[in-house]
Structures are given as structure tokens and as C-alpha cells.
Symmetry: C2
Subunit: 463 residues, 2 copies
Amino acid sequence: MKRIDYIRFAVIVLSLLTVIQAKSQQPDESGMIRKVYNEALTSYEAYHNLEWLCKNTKGRICGRPEAAEAVEFTRQTMNKMGLDSVWLQPIMVKSWDRGEKEIARIVSAKFGTVSVPSCALGWSTGTGDPGLSAKVVEIRSMDELKKKTRREIEGCIVFFNQPMKLTNLGTFTSYGESVWQRTNGPVEAGKLGAVGCVIRSMGIEIDDFPHTGITRYDDTVKPIPAIAISTRAAEMLSDYLAADPGLNFFFRTTCLAGPDVPSFNVIGEIRGSDFPNEIITIGGHLDAWDIAEGAHDDGGGCIQSMEVLRLYLATGIRPRHTVRAVMFMDEEVAQRGGQQYAKEASDKGEKHIAALESDRGVFQPRALAVTGNPSQMKKLAEWQPLFDPYDVKLISGGGGADVGPLKSFYPEILFMGIIPEDQRYFKLHHAASDTFEQVDRREMQLGAAGMASLVYLYDKYGL
Amino acid sequence: MKRIDYIRFAVIVLSLLTVIQAKSQQPDESGMIRKVYNEALTSYEAYHNLEWLCKNTKGRICGRPEAAEAVEFTRQTMNKMGLDSVWLQPIMVKSWDRGEKEIARIVSAKFGTVSVPSCALGWSTGTGDPGLSAKVVEIRSMDELKKKTRREIEGCIVFFNQPMKLTNLGTFTSYGESVWQRTNGPVEAGKLGAVGCVIRSMGIEIDDFPHTGITRYDDTVKPIPAIAISTRAAEMLSDYLAADPGLNFFFRTTCLAGPDVPSFNVIGEIRGSDFPNEIITIGGHLDAWDIAEGAHDDGGGCIQSMEVLRLYLATGIRPRHTVRAVMFMDEEVAQRGGQQYAKEASDKGEKHIAALESDRGVFQPRALAVTGNPSQMKKLAEWQPLFDPYDVKLISGGGGADVGPLKSFYPEILFMGIIPEDQRYFKLHHAASDTFEQVDRREMQLGAAGMASLVYLYDKYGL
């Protein structure tokens, strides 16, 4: 070994030791995390941005002018933040127009004619001007549907009335158990010859808000018009049917699907100091249902994602890897934003190492989640004491509809997530009740601070 | 030993063994607790009762007709529940009338005249018809006040403007640090010759709601009129003072304290099957500030307390000890309800073994608390797995202003409590924003189920 080789060897050993030390001997980060939380709790910027988004781009479902306004607003907001770059990523999205305000009525010889709150399901076909009137068959479970014959259903309106289960502690579980009625009900009913579908809103409480959301048709069967009625209306219709099985239901929708139109994902990033080509994505979806302000679903998640970058700038954190905030377009309909983002990343040869999605509302955070292998989860657990002061648990989970497509291009990608309280979420989800006023500034900011802290630790120490 | 003695001895041993087994070998109670939670999550009764209380007895501060209506409503509600007994416990309470809507204005040569949202502090003396106008001295901390001389304050209005600290995770901590301004500010300012007091509302967010609450005068100094202004108005007044220190503040209040008047605690109980003379009290306070519906403070706590008894009846739990729901009157002013309850208990020779107070809002419960000795806390910890499915921690804490007086008569009494999320609480506390609409049914019911489950275990197995 020449002298120069000794020096080289020494340099390599020292470098390795530094890396090992960085990986194993983590200095106490409680001060930095406190700084992040303090900045979040004392700032009003994100909250004011959410107010702007909710009040000025209400109804920003993909393809609508409101969605274009939301794109422009978030682009400008990130531009003003002083990020390293901000850009729009073009995508093509489906378009659909709700048309005139829906009309829905129970028409009963016994109870008279009663109007009920309703809205067309997303991407439903319309009844057209004359509307649709038919007898009603009530279905309260998937099993009940399976037992039905064509003779029982043909020419009727199928009324899906399986309530969200109240006794699940986690309301996402109840949603998962019931949402088949909205996504698949119309096509299944269509297969049996139904002429229309009425769905009990996917709402956890009894109230007067109809909840919309996507329904998926199928090439094998002619699409039939489908509406959601409020949970209270569903209870009423069910009661009336018990006493007057021959009643008619009338509804009129003029919604119409249009051609694909251009839209954008909105992206901003802070470039990594050490690994600029390794990317951590933090995102929410910018589109929201056309009847809602989309405060919790998912304006808040977008605002939190931008807030993570603002917190970095405000607290002087320079990430080692590139950290991106992505406002995904079109989560609610066909997830084209997430698909395009992943495909383009791969086409460009980007290296994506982790992705955190916030799309469960912006209530008080209960947990931060990572989908790691056992050794990663073990290391994650070592960070728990750093989150104890904020009453946040580090658990297994994460990912989501928008970051999900990255997995097929980056099988090793680490998914992260944030799990807020969810008792209130399905009162608001996809309904006009999802307003800015339902968001608490501190709760949303605690979420953003938690996301920033988790990504900060991962960026610095890895998992 | 005679044969009969052997038999007696055997009976005693068997009895002891039964007791020991009951105390140490707790059967799995997860099914019963699940039953309690299921009943709570599927019932609307308590929520509808809260709505009635909020909408029909708004402003039920002690001594007001609305408080009498709340007494009657809760008495009737408990009567209908089929409890073993329901009764009213007479107390005398203070009375006070807010008078005409308060007027408050900044009068600045530089900025003109600006009206600001205001309300008299509870039990404040009024300015009388002409109102009060004076120069303003701003105080931002207790230290700053201590340094002030009579010459600096005399003839002025003291403006207490120490914001609630945003960076505390627990908002009750911030309240504790700032509330001296409201409770003691006016008397301290009075001692230095101030003619009036303006308090920054004890609100955690910047908004337009003035928050009232009790202020305490002192026999040594003449009471001066005191109002709270909204946090946004406080920020504005502070800014204006910086630019125009000579500005005047005008306010007019016609509030007036009256004589003591009769009122009641409302009490309902299920008598214990084994120990009817040993009492567990569960309570909230029925009075609420006159400008508020008092949904979270503390209509919800009262409703939860009644709901615990309803849950017992609905799930077939017959407690071994007597379990009482108490709607305490006059927590907000002089806590006479709590004092009378404790005194009468002692006078009647009742045995009080435990008391649980719910008075921190009815948001999603985070913890149930017990003020136990180390051996009791150890036993409590054994119950933790029963609460894990509901994401509720068993911690040290509990007690409160209404059950507190029991301690002087029953030094061994076990205090319990419920700790909900508190990020939203001090946006609403003592303000017109504390409305029924701010309460989530599931969150309130999860609290009631948690309270019922803790008391169920304590009643059955002791601590």
C-alpha cells in the first residue's frame, strides 16, 4: 500500500464511520421537532390558504373551471414560498357536469308526495328532462342483492339502504363495508334490469345532506341513472316502503359526462443538499366533489403538504433528499394525477424513496404511519419518544390512492401516512357539509407538524 | 369445635374466597364493555337531549329563568329514564343580570372610532348609563403589572392583553397561565386606581367572539367595571396603542348583581344491589354562561352523566354500589352546587366512595383518569387492555370544581375524570360559539361509554 492509498483508506473509513454514526447514534432531535411544532402552532398562513381554497374554488372536481382556479392558486402560493422549483404537470382528466339541481320525490298513495334531499352520484348518467319514475326494491346487504332475480328487479328502481355500521370504532371501516352500494350498486342493479338506483348516502349520521362520490359503470351493461339521498330520507323511504310497498320514486337528473380535458398536478420542491436525485413525495389531492368546499377531503391534505415545505423553510431545515409537495388532480374520479406522476417519474429516471399521503381529513392527528419491514418498524419505534409530547403514535400503515401508483415503478418505496381522528369525517365526506368552518387550525397544524417531523427524521437518518 | 362451628367456619372461608376471587381473578369484561360502547354508539337519545338543552335553555347561568328551565328539563328527562329516584336538591345561588348589550369603542384621533365585540365579565359591576371613557394602559404579563405604579394607572383603563400561549400542546395549560387576567385583573387594576378593565378574551384563536367568565372582586378595593373584547379586537387595540398611545377607550355596561335566589342541583340514581349506602357520583354542571348555549361547557358533561345511567339500564348492568348522576348548579360563579352537595351528603351520613366529573368539553375522549395511590394505579393499569380497542388511555388525574368539595368530608374518596381532545375547546369556552352544532354525537357518546365502563369496573372490582 502506497502512502496515498493509506490516506484514501483512512478517508473511506472515516466516511463510513460518519455514516454509521449518523445511522446509529442519533443526536437528540426533540429540540428541532419542538421548533417545527412551535412554528406550526403559531402560524396562520396555511389556515388562511385553506380558507381561500375552500371559499374561492368550491366544487373543484376535475375538469371544472374551479379545479383550474385551484391549480393556479396553489401554484402561486408555492411560488411565493420561495421553493427551489414549482411547476405544473399536465394530465388529461375526465369531465362531467351535474347539470340542473336534482329533483327526487317519494310518491305514495298513503303518504302523499314528499321531496327528499338528493344528488347524482359522480359520473352517473342522467335521467334526462322527463325524469324517471318506478316502483322501488329495497336492498339492505350484498347478500340480499345476490338473492334477487331479474324478475324481481326489472323495471324497478333499486334502493340500496345498508347503513354505515355505527359500532365500528374506526369510521373508515364502516365506509369500506358500505361503499360498494355507491361504487357497484348501479351496475349490479343494471345487470338485473333495474331502471335507476337510489343510494343511502355514505354518511355516518342521520341528517339532511346527500353525499356524492364516484360510481363505476361496466361495459357489459347499459348505465342506469343513480342518485344518493340523505340518510334521513333513506330512513323515511324505508319506513314508507314497509307500509306502502307499491309506492313510486321519481327522480330527475341532467348530469352528463363530457370529453377528456387538460388539467394539472401542481408540484413544488426543496432540492436535497446531499441527494437531490432521491425524492420524498408529500401529497394530497386538489380536486374535491362539485357540491363541497372540500375542506377535509382533501383541501386540508394539500395545504398540510405545502405547509411541510413552509415549516422546513421557516425552521431552517435543509433536507438531504429532495422533498416535494404534490397537489394531485383527479383522485375522486380516476386517479389520473397519481398515475401520471408515477409514470413520468419513471420515464424521467427519477429515484423515489418515500411518499406520504394525507387524505383522511385534517382532524387531530392520532398516529403517523409507515409501511416498513420489521427492521424499519423497529427503527421507527425508536423515534416514538420524540412524538410522545404530541400524543402521536408511530404505527404501521400509510400510502394511498395518489402515491400508490409509485409502487409499481419503485417497489422499494417507503409509504407513509397520517391518521387523524375520524369520528367526524363521514358526516362531511363528499357532502356540502365539508366546509372550511369544520377545520380547526390547531388540529390541521399539528398534523402538518407531525408529517414534517417524520419526514425530517427519515430524511436525516433513514429507516 | 362443634359441628355447627365447622359449618360456620366453612361458610366464612367460602365467602372470603368468593370476595378474594372477585377482587383478584377478574373475568374477561371485554364483552360487557363492548356492549356498553355499542349501546352508546347506536343511541341518539343523549344527543337529542343535548340539542334540547342547548336550544331551549341557552344562557342558563345560575339565578336566571333559563337555569330553572334546565333544572326542570333534566329532572323530567331522568324521571322518564326509570331510575330508582330523581330529586332536586335546593341551593341558594347568586344572581346577576348582564343588562343591555354592551358597547365598546376605540376612540383614536389617528384611527377614528372603531366599535369592537365585547361582553361584560361575569359579576362585573356596570359602568351605568353614561359609560366610561379613559386612556388605556396595556399590560402583557403579571410581571409588567407588578412593576406599574399608582401614578401610571390611576384614572386609566387597564387593558390586559396576555394571549393564550399557542405552543402549549394542552390548551388547558394555556388557559391556566392566562386566566388570572380575567379573574384577578380587575381587582389588581382597581388597587392601582384604574377606573375600568378591558380583558383580551381567553380564546385560543383570533376571531370575533368575546369570551366571558367570572371575575372576582375583593373587599379591600372598590369594584371597577370590566369587559372582555374579542382576540381580534385585542390585537387591533394593541396595534392602535402602539401608534397612538393617547387614544381613549369607551365602554358602557349596565350589568348588575342581584340578591341570592333559590335554585337546585338535579340528582338521579340507580341504587346499589350490594352496597346501596355507598355512593359513586358522576356529574357535570348544568349552569352555562348567559351568552352561550353551553354545549361543551358543560351541557355535554351533564348529558354524558345521565347517559351513563341510561347505558346501565339499557345494557342490564345493576351496579353493586349506588350510582348517581348529578347536574350541579353554579359551577361558573361560586360552586355552591358542589359545596351544598358535599355538605348535605355529610350531614345525612352518606358514604361517598368515588366521584367522576366531566367538565372539559365532550370531544373525542383521549383518556380516563383516576387520582389513586400507587397500588390503585397499578390495579387500574391492569384494566388498560379493556380500553385499548377504544383508543382510551387510563391515566392519573380526575376530580374537578363540583366534586372537589366532597374531599373535605370524605378524605378517602376516589376522584375520576375524563380527558377529551382539547384543541377546539378554547375557541368556544364561555362564548356564543359554544353551540350544539360543535358537538359530535359519536365523540360525546364515546366519552359517556368510557365513563360508564370505568365506573362499571370500579363498582364491580374496586380499586
